[in-house]
């Protein structure tokens, strides 16, 4: 794992959690949308929070796909679940919401899970692969996070 790859995993985590928060805030500003006025859903995109939230979720999808191109699914999913922890910290220290003991235990469990998975290898090697761009392939310029 190089520094650049850790940055991609951080991108997955940050884009997903901040994007979700912005979408949630934007949709609360827009108000409830009735099934009879679906055009309001298109106008909701004009809300700055919704627009920025959609941009960040596109960033999430791009970085998630990038991570899956060189790491296992069972590595990427737990490793990027720190977003749940981030949302709790935002709720506690930015939104000043009360966070119960059980939620702090949840934060601890997720952090432990992330610690477990990131200590192991990111990719299962399949020796029979023939694609020259397969995930094992890593040019010299990428090594050691250069």
């Amino acid at each position: 794992m190089t520094f650049r790859k850790y940055l991609v995993l951080a991108g997955v985590t940050l884009c997903a959690s901040i994007g979700d928060s912005l979408l949630s805030r934007g949709m609360k500003q827009v108000g409830s949308i009735s099934l009879h006025h679906l055009s309001d859903l298109i106008l909701a995109v004009l809300n700055p929070s919704v627009a920025l939230g959609i941009l960040l979720l596109l960033g999430f999808f791009a970085s998630y796909m990038t991570a899956l191109s060189w790491a296992d699914l069972t590595y990427v999913l737990p490793a990027t679940s720190l977003g749940y922890v981030l949302l709790t910290l935002i709720a506690k220290f930015y939104l000043h919401e009360s966070v119960t003991t059980s939620r702090w235990i949840g934060v601890l469990l997720i952090s432990s899970g992330v610690g477990f998975v990131t200590q192991g290898p990111a990719l299962t090697h399949h020796p029979q692969k023939a694609n020259p761009y397969e995930a094992e392939y890593e040019p010299a310029s990428m090594k050691d996070g250069q």
């Binding site: 990038t66 699914l73 069972t74 477990f116 998975v117 299962t124 694609n131 397969e134």
Partner: protein
């Protein structure tokens, strides 16, 4: 009856979400390391390879199904059950599916991670 609908919705969300994740992961392994490919052949080559990959398109379809199932599920059932139950179960089913269909080496460390994260998600939503 409402419970049956709720758990049916959770089952559909977990199935569609796991299918989507497995298909997207397989597609990206077939495409190869995006960073290396981008430097060697350019962004359009990367986009062309990704968008022409049938597994990617099927994966997006499955993820869309999961998203709309979640929306329908939330209209029937309790958000405090559907959201954490589907999110945490997906971590476990993904580990099983990745081992079977992607032949990933899911060792005790990854199992522990999947179970701890799944439990953590449940507690965060409690």
């Amino acid at each position: 009856m409402k419970q049956a609908y709720t758990w049916s919705a959770i089952a559909v969300i977990v199935f569609a979400s796991t299918t989507g994740d497995v298909l997207l992961s397989r597609a990206m392994k077939q495409v190869g390391d995006v960073g290396a490919l981008w430097r060697l052949s350019g962004l359009w080559t990367v986009l062309g390879r990704v968008l022409r990959n049938p597994n990617f398109l099927l994966g997006v379809l499955a993820m869309t199904t999961a998203f709309y199932s979640l929306l329908f599920g939330l209209s029937w059932g309790d958000v405090s059950l559907i959201a954490p139950a589907s999110a945490s179960l997906t971590f476990v089913t993904n580990a099983v599916a990745a081992r079977i269909f992607l032949h990933e080496r899911v060792d005790h460390r990854r199992w522990m991670a999947a179970v701890l994260v799944a439990g953590g998600v449940v507690l965060l939503a409690a």
